[in-house]
C-alpha cells in the first residue's frame, strides 16, 4: 500500500477491523450494518406490498422464510402483516436512516473535514458502534421468536404496547423491541456527545465555524437534536416498561379485555403520545438534516459554484433545529386536543416550511447556471431535492389541523413521509456513498451502473409513492391488512398492483448498487487524489488515509469550502488549504487583508496529545 503510515504499534485483525477505535473503520462498520438493515427492511416492505397489491396471490413460496406466518391457505397471517409494518418502520427510521446515515457520515467526515486525527474519544466511539450492534442483534432475534416481533406500529402506542396480553406481538416481541431501543439510545447518545465535542474542540488551525463545510454544520445540529430528544424517549419508554412489568398505570385507564376490567386506572395513553412525539418529530430531522448537509456539499462541488447563501443555509438549519422541538402535537390533531392548541401547533408547523423553502431555493439557485457535472452522487442529490419538494408540499396540507381530520392515518401520510423523509434521506445516503466512496476505499465506483441505479430508483420511488396520495385522499387507512374487504376501495386494486410492481423493481434495482459497492471495493479503478475536484480538506489526505489521517502535520485552513469557479483563478476550485497569499489574482479586496493573519496561523502551536503519534 502506498501510504502505510508512520505508526509502529501492532494492530491485530481484531483491533483493526472489529474493535477498532479508528473513526474511518467505525464509519464503515455503521455503513455495512446499515446496508444489511436496509435489505431486511426493504424485503419486508416487498412482502406486505405483495399482500396489498395482489390480495389473492398464493404466498406459499414464502413458507421457507416465513414458516408458520403463511396460513395453510397460502395467505399472509394478518397479525404478521402488522409485525412486518412495525419492524419495517422501526428498521428504516432508526437502524438505517439514523444509525446508518449519521453513524456513517458523521464518523467518517467529521475528523476528515475539520482536520482532526480522530474523534475526541475513540473508545466511546467504538462503544457507540457496539451498542448499536447489540441493539441490532436483539432486534434481529425478535423477528424470529414464535410470538412474532412488536406489532403495534413503530410509534408503539399504548395500550397495545403496554399490555403483553393485547396481541401476540405485544408480549416478548415488544419487550425485545424496548430492550433493543435502550441499547440504541445509549449508542446514539455516546455518538452524539463525541460528534459535538469533536467539532467544538478539535478543529484544525484556521477552521473557524464560519469556514466549516455545511456537512459538518448539519452533523453538528443533528447531534444536538439527538441529545435533546432521545432522553425524552427514554422517559417515555421507562414509564411504558413500568406499566408493562410492574403494573403501574401511567398510560392505562379503564381497559376491558374480553369483558373483564383491568385493575389499572387513572393513566392516559395520550401522555405517551406527547412524550413520544417530542422525540418523534425531531427524529425526522435527525434523519433528514445529515442528508441535506451531504447534498449541499455535493451540489456545490458538482455545480462548480459556491453554495448559494451559505449563511442562510446555516440559519435555516438552526431554525429547523429550534422549531423541530415545538411542533410535535401536529401528530396528535385528532386525539381530541383543544382546537385552540391545535391552531397554535398548526401555525408553528407551517413556520417550518420557511427555512425548508429557503434551503430548497438555495439548492436551486446553486444549480442555476452552474457548470453541472452529473456524477451519480450529483444525480442522487438532485433527486433528494426533488423528493424534498414534492413531499414537502403535502406537509403543508397535513400540518393543517382541519384537513388532517380527513388525512390522518391514511396512505396520504404514508406517501408524504416516504417522499420527504424516507426517500429524500435515503437518496442523501446513497449520494454520500457515491461521493465519498473513493475516500473510504481508495477506489472509484462504476458510474454507468450508478446512473442505471439512479434512474430505476428515482422513477420507482415516484411510481410507488405518488399513487398512494390518491388512495389516501380516498380515505384508506394505513396499517390495514387488506383493501379488498371494503367496496369503497375496490376501484384501487389496479393502482395497488402497479405500486407493488414498482416497489419490487425499485427493490431489485438496489442490488445493482450492492454489486457496484462490493465489486468496486476490491476491483474498482484506483481513485485519484481529488476525483471530484473538491475544496474540502479530506481530499488532501493520502488516497487511503491511515490511522491519524494525515501523515505529517494537519493542514491549516485559510478559506471557506466553496471557492468554486472564482473569477480570476486559474482552476475552477481552490482547496481550503490554499492561503490567500498564493491566490492574489482571484482575491477579493477584504481577502487581501486576511493575508496578514496567515503568519499568525502558521505560528499557532499545534496541540497534539492523546493520539499516540
Amino acid at each position: 500500500m502506498d501510504h502505510s503510515h508512520d505508526h509502529e504499534h501492532k494492530e491485530t485483525f481484531i483491533t483493526k477491523y472489529v474493535f477498532s477505535q479508528d473513526h474511518k473503520t467505525i464509519a464503515k462498520q455503521y455503513l455495512i450494518t446499515g446496508i444489511f438493515w436496509a435489505l431486511i427492511g426493504g424485503a419486508m416492505s416487498i412482502i406486505f406490498r405483495l399482500q396489498l397489491g395482489f390480495p389473492d396471490m398464493n404466498l406459499e413460496f414464502l413458507r421457507p422464510i416465513l414458516g408458520g406466518w403463511i396460513t395453510p391457505t397460502g395467505k399472509l397471517d394478518p397479525e404478521f402483516y402488522l409485525a412486518l409494518v412495525t419492524m419495517h418502520g422501526t428498521i428504516m427510521v432508526f437502524f438505517v436512516l439514523t444509525a446508518g446515515l449519521s453513524g456513517t457520515f458523521s464518523n467518517f467526515l467529521i475528523p476528515l473535514q475539520i482536520g482532526a486525527r480522530d474523534m475526541a474519544s475513540g473508545f466511546l466511539n467504538m462503544l457507540s458502534y457496539w451498542f448499536f450492534f447489540l441493539s441490532s442483534v436483539v432486534m434481529f432475534i425478535s423477528i424470529f421468536i414464535p410470538t412474532g416481533p412488536a406489532s403495534g406500529g413503530w410509534v408503539i402506542y399504548p395500550p397495545l404496547s403496554a399490555l403483553p396480553q393485547a396481541m401476540s406481538g405485544s408480549g416478548l416481541g415488544m419487550t425485545l423491541w424496548l430492550v433493543a431501543m435502550v441499547f440504541f439510545i445509549v449508542s446514539i447518545l455516546l455518538g452524539g456527545v463525541n460528534y459535538i465535542t469533536t467539532i467544538i474542540n478539535l478543529r484544525t488551525r484556521g477552521m473557524s465555524f464560519s469556514k466549516l463545510p455545511l456537512t459538518i454544520w448539519s452533523f453538528f445540529l443533528t447531534a444536538i437534536i439527538g441529545l435533546l430528544s432521545f432522553p425524552v424517549l427514554v422517559a417515555a419508554a421507562l414509564l411504558l416498561i413500568f406499566d408493562r412489568t410492574f403494573g403501574t398505570s401511567f398510560y392505562l385507564s379503564e381497559i376491558f379485555i374480553n369483558g373483564e376490567a383491568l385493575p389499572q386506572m387513572g393513566g392516559s395513553p395520550i401522555l405517551f403520545q406527547h412524550l413520544f412525539w417530542f422525540l418523534g418529530h425531531p427524529e425526522v430531522y435527525i434523519v433528514l438534516l445529515p442528508a441535506l448537509g451531504i447534498t449541499s456539499e455535493i451540489i456545490a462541488t458538482n455545480s462548480r459554484k459556491p453554495i448559494f447563501g451559505y449563511k442562510a443555509m446555516i440559519i435555516s438549519m438552526l431554525g429547523i433545529t429550534v422549531l423541530s422541538f415545538i411542533v410535535w402535537a401536529h401528530h396528535m390533531f385528532v386525539t381530541g386536543m383543544n382546537p385552540f392548541l391545535g391552531s397554535i401547533f398548526m401555525l408553528l408547523t407551517l413556520i417550518i416550511a420557511i427555512p425548508s423553502a429557503v434551503k430548497v431555493f438555495n439548492y436551486l439557485t446553486t444549480l442555476w447556471k452552474g457548470n453541472i457535472v452529473f456524477t451519480p452522487a450529483m444525480m442522487f442529490s438532485i433527486g433528494l431535492v426533488s423528493f424534498f419538494i414534492s413531499g414537502g408540499l403535502t406537509g403543508i396540507f397535513l400540518g393543517n389541523s382541519a384537513i388532517d381530520i380527513q388525512l390522518h392515518d391514511t396512505y396520504f401520510v404514508v406517501a408524504h413521509f416516504h417522499l420527504v423523509m424516507g426517500s429524500a434521506s435515503f437518496f442523501g445516503m446513497l449520494a454520500g456513498v457515491y461521493h465519498w466512496f473513493p475516500k473510504m476505499f481508495g477506489r472509484m465506483m462504476d458510474s454507468k451502473l450508478g446512473y442505471i441505479h439512479f434512474w430505476l430508483t428515482f422513477a420507482g420511488v415516484y411510481l410507488v409513492f405518488f399513487p398512494l396520495h390518491y388512495i389516501g385522499i380516498a380515505g384508506f387507512p394505513r396499517r390495514y391488512y387488506s383493501f379488498t374487504n371494503f367496496d369503497a376501495f375496490n376501484m384501487f386494486t389496479d393502482l395497488n398492483s402497479l405500486v407493488s410492481i414498482a416497489a419490487i423493481v425499485t427493490f431489485c434495482a438496489q442490488f445493482i448498487f450492492l454489486f457496484n459497492f462490493f465489486y468496486s471495493m476490491f476491483r474498482g479503478k484506483k481513485a485519484p487524489a481529488n476525483p471530484w475536484r473538491s475544496n474540502t480538506i479530506e481530499w488532501t489526505t493520502p488516497r487511503v488515509p491511515g490511522h491519524g489521517n494525515w501523515p505529517g502535520e494537519i493542514p491549516i485552513v485559510y478559506r471557506w469550502p466553496y471557492d468554486y469557479s472564482k473569477p480570476g483563478a486559474a482552476e475552477d476550485f481552490i482547496l481550503q488549504t490554499v492561503p490567500f497569499s498564493e491566490t492574489k489574482e482571484s482575491n477579493l479586496p477584504h481577502e487581501n487583508e486576511l493575508i496578514a493573519e496567515e503568519e499568525e496561523l502558521k505560528n499557532m502551536k499545534v496541540e497534539e496529545e492523546s493520539h499516540g503519534h
Binding site: 456527545v193 473557524s208 403501574t248 392516559s268 477584504h590
Partner: protein, 195 residues
C-alpha cells in the same frame, strides 16, 4: 459573484480551550436535564387531566434535601483544599461527601417507606403517587452513578493523584455532584408545589 462573504465573517480563532471530557460531561448533564424535564412535563400533562389528591409528602424528603445541600458544601470544600494541595483534608471531605451521599439514599428509601405507610404504592391507581417513586428512583440511580465516580476520585486522592496540578477529575466530580443536588432541589420544590 454576488454571494455573501460569510466565509470571511471572522478571522481565525483558536478552537475552544475547554477540556473535551469536561465538555462531554456538560453534554451528558444536558441529557439528564431533558430526561427529568420529560418526567416533570409528563406529570403536568397528567395533572391537567385529573385532580391530584392532597397527600402528605414524606417528612424524610425534607431531611434528605438538607443532607444533599450539606454534601454539596463538603464537596466544594474538598475541591477548595485540592487547589491548595492540602492532601489530607481532600480525603476527609471527599469521604464526608460520600457518607452524606449514602445517607441521602437511605433517607430517600425511608421516604418510600413512609409513602407505603400512607397507602401510596408504586403500582396503585394513583398515578401522581407513582410519579413520586419515579422522580426519587431515577434521581437515586444518578446519585449512585455519582457515588461510584466519587469513590474513584477518593481512591485517586489516596494515591496522591488529586492536587492543584491535577484537578480535572475532581472538577468533573464536583460539577456532577452539584448538578445532582440542584436537580433534587428542583424535584423537591416541584413536589411541594404540586401536593
Amino acid at each position: 459573484m454576488t454571494n455573501e462573504n460569510a466565509h470571511t465573517m471572522t478571522g481565525s480563532k483558536e478552537t475552544l480551550s475547554m477540556h473535551p471530557k469536561k465538555f462531554a460531561l456538560w453534554l451528558f448533564i444536558g441529557t439528564v436535564i431533558m430526561l427529568f424535564g420529560a418526567f416533570t412535563s409528563a406529570f403536568i400533562v397528567m395533572a391537567s387531566e385529573r385532580a391530584i389528591q392532597d397527600i402528605q409528602l414524606p417528612g424524610a424528603l425534607l431531611y434528605s434535601t438538607i443532607t444533599i445541600l450539606i454534601s454539596s458544601a463538603t464537596m466544594q470544600m474538598a475541591y477548595h483544599y485540592a487547589k491548595k494541595d492540602e492532601l489530607s483534608k481532600i480525603k476527609t471531605f471527599l469521604t464526608l461527601t460520600l457518607v452524606l451521599g449514602l445517607v441521602f439514599l437511605g433517607l430517600q428509601y425511608l421516604a418510600w417507606d413512609e409513602l407505603v405507610l400512607n397507602n401510596i404504592y408504586f403500582t396503585s391507581n394513583y398515578v401522581a403517587g407513582s410519579f413520586i417513586y419515579v422522580f426519587t428512583g431515577v434521581h437515586g440511580l444518578h446519585i449512585i452513578s455519582a457515588l461510584i465516580f466519587l469513590a474513584v476520585v477518593l481512591a485517586a486522592s489516596f494515591k496522591m493523584k488529586i492536587h492543584s496540578k491535577s484537578l480535572n477529575q475532581i472538577e468533573m466530580c464536583v460539577t456532577y455532584w452539584h448538578f445532582l443536588g440542584a436537580l433534587w432541589l428542583y424535584l423537591y420544590i416541584f413536589l411541594l408545589l404540586n401536593f
